[in-house]
């Protein structure tokens, strides 16, 4: 009995072992017909399989016969599962594997766009790069001025891009335009941006040809995206040579909500006592302000964010009058209050549909006083925006959106102080609405075509305009791509002209851009040529839109994070040739805010042993045009070339749960003479150079960040 049982069992076992012994072998290739080593080829749900060798071949024995599924699994490639029928004879399986979607291998629109974000992998800069650029003094615009396309205009705030003036660049936060992104300033003294770079997780600096999502910026758009939930609850404290500040940000335990605020006060009086300034300050600049933020994850895919900002600033300055012979000084006193709020909500409505809604309200009041006049200028903006993005296929995307902006501008001039007794008041309202549709069509993973149009209407302009925008990008190599962009860009004339009885029509620019770039983990090389045609610029000579102009040139950018150990540097060069006839120009000339050659070298080194991060930025620009009434050739004089060497350093230290940064920076370290232009007296006999208020600006600051890191508490407790 036992023997029968035993034999039977043996037969059963050997049955299993002997009956199905099919040899499966083959070769696995990629789409370029190259062998793929390391591919896992096996029969699904069994142990039977093998890895391909260096030549792409594999071989194994399968225990089962009949209908089975063979699997090819390999990292970076789309998994293959195929039904096959195994018999006792050898089975050959050869196949080609397709590369799976890899963000790094997908082409992106790069013409006219420089992106700084942590999330995308093919960006040129990271947000931290902006903060650590010497000479920028932690100002986003200051850092962007070291990139190609931006001009070195030191006497006015704003981004002057490719021959366009500061008003031609719009600052956008979370999709919505910011009316007053810069502090109010005294004439010929540049102010800085209002918002700290730490507020943002992403920055897109467009030098032209930008998406139909944005408008009213003839030259460029600076699109900033605010941070989402913080990593932990933290409090910050800052003490510097210009002021103090502190903040607190609380992250809820469930990690789905955060609330935070910050307050700051700055007063330059102590600093001005130490470092002499050229103008005489009757009231040293004072800034007090704060912000409030709230972020909540409304669902796994939804996010509600609120940001509120307020700021009061005050300054009084006396500058030598060019027309006087007895040292008379002009007075300029400025008192500003600014409130900016931004509310956004984003949510996924379906597997492929994303909705973004935003609303913003801002109000800005300037109270200016000179010897003769008292001016009150108010500028309010209320806006709403909605965008739907729908994914099509694996990569393509369709965007449809609309936005509405209500602006209220009021200027009240009182000449009572001088005894003339004139009062002028002017108020303008505008209802601006825009609609846009845009599609990013991926023809292949390597070729994308973006096509879109934007329609805009303004009750002041009384005209509806449609601007077509399109761009194409093609991945020519594994790490390089070629991109082209074309677009039309309309912009309401400068605010001043909107107060005129006869309101001029839209100004227009048409962009043509070609770009080639190569980005890998450590190097970036970018070259871009552009041609910008200006039409319908405001001509004050005949109060019409008969102004025109053009700008063309070449931008080059090279960044290297590897060649010199521990060093990150970038070089940017801009060649700009531009002329325009607008405002009161008698003929077409190069405007004063354009230099033919601009170059920057930004250098950063991290000394790990010393806990020190340090860098310098050297900027050069060729002389800028300026108006000389004594010269019959209008705008043909040039200032001296511009040189500036900024240095900065930061010492970092972690003490228990406090992260401390001691930072210092100096602008124009070697004290180059910097002249931005000249102002002439009425009779043209006297002139004064427009220079920075002081040769150098020194800054020292201590920043402390206290975070609640529980794992660290555990270590401390265990010790």
């Amino acid at each position: 009995m036992n023997r029968i049982l035993f034999t039977f069992t043996l037969i059963l076992l050997s049955f299993q072992g002997v009956l199905a012994q099919t040899k499966v072998s083959g070769k696995i290739l990629d789409q370029k017909k190259q062998p793929l080593p390391g591919v896992n080829v096996f029969i699904k749900d069994t142990y039977d399989g093998a890895s391909t060798g260096a030549d792409g071949t594999f071989s194994f024995t399968a225990a089962d016969t009949g209908d089975v599924i063979i699997v090819c699994s390999f990292i970076g490639f789309e998994q293959i599962e195929k039904k096959i029928k195994l018999t006792s004879s050898d089975f050959t399986f050869n196949t080609t594997m397709k590369e799976s979607l890899n963000e790094l291998k997908v082409v992106t629109i790069s013409a006219g766009t420089i992106e700084a974000s942590d999330e995308k992998k093919t960006t040129v800069l990271k947000p931290l790069d902006i903060v650590t650029t010497a000479g920028a003094q932690g100002d986003i615009v200051g850092a962007l001025k070291t990139l190609p396309g931006a001009q070195q205009v030191g006497e006015s705030e704003g981004l002057f891009v490719r021959g366009g003036d500061g008003s031609e660049t719009k600052t956008i936060i979370d999709g919505m335009v910011v009316n007053k992104p810069f502090f109010s300033a005294a004439p010929d003294i540049a102010s800085r941006g209002r918002f700290s770079p730490f507020l943002f997780k992403g920055t897109v600096f467009s030098t032209g040809g930008y998406s139909a999502q944005y408008g009213q910026g003839m030259s460029s758009v600076l699109a900033l995206e605010t941070q989402d939930l913080p990593a932990q609850t933290s409090s910050t404290l800052a003490i510097s040579s210009v002021g103090i500040g502190g903040g607190y940000n609380k992250l809820w335990k469930e990690k789905n909500m955060s609330v935070g605020f910050d307050l700051n006060y700055a007063n330059l009086l102590p600093y001005f006592k130490l470092v002499k300034q050229t103008p005489e300050y009757t009231r040293a600049p004072q800034f007090s302000g704060g912000s409030l933020n709230f972020r909540k994850k409304t669902s796994t895919t939804g996010m509600l964010k609120f940001y509120g900002y307020f700021n009061l600033s005050d300054l009084g300055i006396k500058t030598l009058s060019i027309d006087s012979t007895n040292g008379f000084k002009n007075l300029f006193e400025l008192n500003n209050s600014d409130v900016y709020t931004n509310l956004t909500y984003k949510e996924r409505l379906g597997e492929k549909l994303l909705m973004n809604i935003g609303a913003s309200y801002s109000t800005n009041v300037d109270n200016i006083r000179t010897w003769t006049d008292s001016i009150r200028s108010q500028s309010d903006m209320t806006q709403g925006r909605i965008v739907f993005s729908r994914g099509i296929g694996k990569l393509s995307m369709l965007r449809i959106g609309a936005e509405y902006q209500y602006t209220y501008d009021d200027v009240k001039i009182d000449g009572a102080a001088s005894g003339y007794g004139y009062h002028i008041r002017n108020t303008i309202y505008d209802n601006y609405s825009a609609q846009f549709v845009e599609a990013d069509i991926y023809i292949t993973q390597k070729l994308v075509w973006r096509a879109g149009a934007r329609g805009e209407h303004s009750t002041l302009e009384k005209e509806y305009v449609i601007s077509p925008r399109t761009s194409v990008a093609y991945k020519v190599g594994e790490k390089s791509q070629l991109s082209l962009a074309y677009g039309q860009f309309y912009q309401k004339p400068d605010r001043t002209y909107l107060f005129y009885p006869q309101i001029p029509g839209y100004n227009k620019a048409t962009h043509y851009i070609a770009n080639i770039q190569r980005v890998d983990d450590f190097h970036t090389l970018r070259a871009e040529i552009y041609y910008k045609k200006y039409d319908n610029l405001t001509n004050l000579n005949d109060s019409t839109n008969s102004g025109y102009g053009y700008a063309q040139g070449l931008d080059v950018f090279w960044r290297d994070k590897k060649t010199i150990k521990g060093v990150d540097y970038w070089i940017s060069y801009t060649y700009l040739e531009t002329k325009r006839k607008y405002q009161n120009y008698p003929k077409e000339v190069t405007p004063p805010f354009a230099a033919k050659h601009t170059a920057s070298l930004v250098f950063k080194k991290f000394f790990e042993k010393l806990n020190l991060s340090s860098g310098f930025t050297y900027t050069y620009a060729s002389g800028r045009p300026y108006y000389n009434p004594n010269n019959p050739e209008f705008m043909s004089d040039r200032t001296i070339d511009y040189h500036s060497l900024g240095i900065n350093g930061a010492y970092l230290r972690q003490i228990k749960n406090c992260f401390a940064v001691l930072a210092f920076s100096v602008t124009n370290t070697i004290g180059n003479e910097q002249i931005f232009g000249y102002r002439y007296s009425y009779d043209g006999k006297q002139s004064a150079a427009v220079t920075p208020p002081a040769k150098r600006f020194f800054f020292v600051g201590l920043f402390l960040s206290f975070g609640q890191n529980r794992s660290k508490e555990v270590i401390d407790n265990n010790n």
């Binding site: 299993q16 896992n40 142990y47 942590d118 972690q654 794992s711």
Partner: protein
């Protein structure tokens, strides 16, 4: 006859049932033994493939999925740049399966923490804080789930070791943690011959490195 057949049937079931388990254990033991001495990327890929196959065959076992993920994480140490994310994504794919089979498992949380900290290397300056925190939290959970598991402590030691002193890390901070981990390795009892039991050699190596200047 009927009785014999039914006994035969029962026996064959028992034999087949037993035939799978020793096969599984043997396959796992063979590949795990190779793991300890393998650092080469291509060899690790082959081991990952072996574990992936075992996982495909043994759908109720978390260990093959765990070891597949373990292989992919270890492959990141010989790559750089954005490639690391690709390997980490693949490791995550398998550890998720392991997690669904065996939730609240200390070893699985330890490996999740290891995957998060591997991602830091892509760009330490901008990723250090985010993934450092994520890894820390997963480590703490792993410690809570099994107080005898030395691996979360070993991982913590490496976190301190590779974090620059100015950000709160350094060899001085790492040393006591590695020492604690080593003590735990001495007394740790793995749940089976194929349960995770790695890291003691690396821990010893790191302790020596901590003493170097």
């Amino acid at each position: 006859m009927k009785k014999i057949l039914s006994i035969l049937a029962l026996l064959s079931v028992a034999i087949f049932a037993e035939a799978q388990n020793p096969k599984y254990i043997a396959a796992m033991e063979k590949n795990i033994a190779a793991l300890d001495t393998t650092r080469d990327g291509a060899k690790l890929q082959n081991l990952a493939n072996n574990f992936e196959r075992i996982a495909s065959a043994e759908k109720s076992e978390w260990l093959p999925n765990y070891y597949t993920a373990y292989c992919y994480v270890n492959m990141t140490y010989s790559t750089k740049g954005n490639e690391i994310d690709t390997f980490c994504d693949r490791a995550e794919k398998f550890i998720k399966v392991a997690d669904s089979i065996s939730p609240n498992n200390s070893e699985i949380y330890t490996l999740k923490a290891q995957i998060a900290s591997a991602r830091i290397s892509v760009n330490p300056m901008s990723r250090g804080q985010k993934y450092g925190m994520e890894s820390g939290e997963l480590r703490e959970k792993a410690k809570e789930l099994d107080k005898t598991n030395p691996r979360p402590y070993y991982l913590e030691g490496t976190a301190y070791f590779y974090t620059p002193p100015m950000f709160g890390g350094g060899k001085d901070k790492a040393k006591p943690v590695f020492q604690k981990a080593l003590e735990m390795y001495e007394t740790f009892k793995p749940a089976s011959t194929i349960a995770p039991n790695w890291g003691k050699n690396s821990c010893t190596y790191f302790l020596k490195e901590c003493d170097k200047k």
